[in-house]
Amino acid sequence: MNTRQLNTVWAILLVATLATWTIGEVGKHLGIAGPPAMLTLLAISFVKGRLVVLDFMGLRGVKFFWRGLLIGWLLLVSALIATAYWIALT
């Protein structure tokens, strides 16, 4: 990772945080509420978490095993949160 790539990742993370905050503040008025909002928030946090794992933690060039463990954690946690959310709806 060179400095330009690291800065790009930083910028993407900031924009993604702004998106999460926006959904919290005015999501309802934008028509993003309920399950679509939940799925969007999970997708945003997955994208952010994946970038932190690959580029900040430096696992991008490392054997799949290690990337798989951390990105697998993100996927598992997201799936559990989505399942609990779905149970709450029914």
């Binding site: 930083w10 900040f56 430096g58 054997k63 799949f64 609990a84 709450a88």
Partner: protein, 198 residues
């Protein structure tokens, strides 16, 4: 020297081990497991009491939560820049970036402290209700990790200033950095889950 006798550089296949010490990665995995269980417990507790959780979530300071996300992400970016600089033998630059990481961490603690103070002033504690039991214990568990992360960053800063790390000796700084990024990673899930999702 006959160019043909120079061995071709080995193809840069994927590194077998992650950056830093292998031990820190087992520690990170254990931490992620603990936070993962905590997140799932929160989500399923909410499923049992949606009305309470959604009402109580509205009493949280979402601006403070978002600001803290920005601080942790920026702190993580600073530390990634520090590792990059030390990897190019620029210890002084690396030390400055580490200080930036410490400053972001300190900012996080101040913002979270203000948030906690407001909640305690409102008479909120662990036994207020299930939502606040989760909010306080989950965020405080993370808060303690930020403090440990800052202790690690300060130690890295001291050693980096002394020039203890360099392109040939990245193990220490990469290990500490990985821990700090883990603290950021956990908050990236915590913020939308606890402050925004409803």
């Amino acid at each position: 020297m006959d160019p043909a006798s120079v061995p071709a550089p080995a193809s840069p296949g994927p590194a077998t081990a992650p950056p830093g010490d292998l031990a820190i990665w087992f520690f990170i995995l254990a931490e992620l497991l603990a936070f993962g269980v905590f997140f799932a417990a929160y989500a399923f507790a909410r499923a049992l009491n949606v009305a309470l959780f959604d009402t109580m979530q509205q009493t949280l300071d979402r601006q403070a939560g978002a600001l803290n996300t920005v601080l942790l992400i920026s702190g993580s970016a600073c530390v990634a820049r520090a590792v990059e600089a030390v990897g190019r033998a620029r210890s002084a630059t690396g030390a400055r970036w580490l200080l930036g990481g410490v400053a972001c961490g300190a900012g996080f603690l101040v913002v979270k402290g203000i948030e906690y103070a407001a909640k305690f002033e409102a008479g909120i504690n662990l036994s207020t209700n299930t939502f606040y039991m989760f909010y306080l214990s989950l965020t405080f568990f993370h808060f303690m990790h930020v403090i440990l992360g800052m202790v690690i960053l300060v130690a890295l800063w001291v050693k980096t200033r002394q020039g203890a790390y360099g392109p040939a000796d990245m193990n220490g700084i990469e290990s500490g950095a990985a821990y700090w990024h883990m603290v950021d990673l956990v908050w990236i899930v915590l913020f939308p889950l606890v402050y925004v999702m409803r």
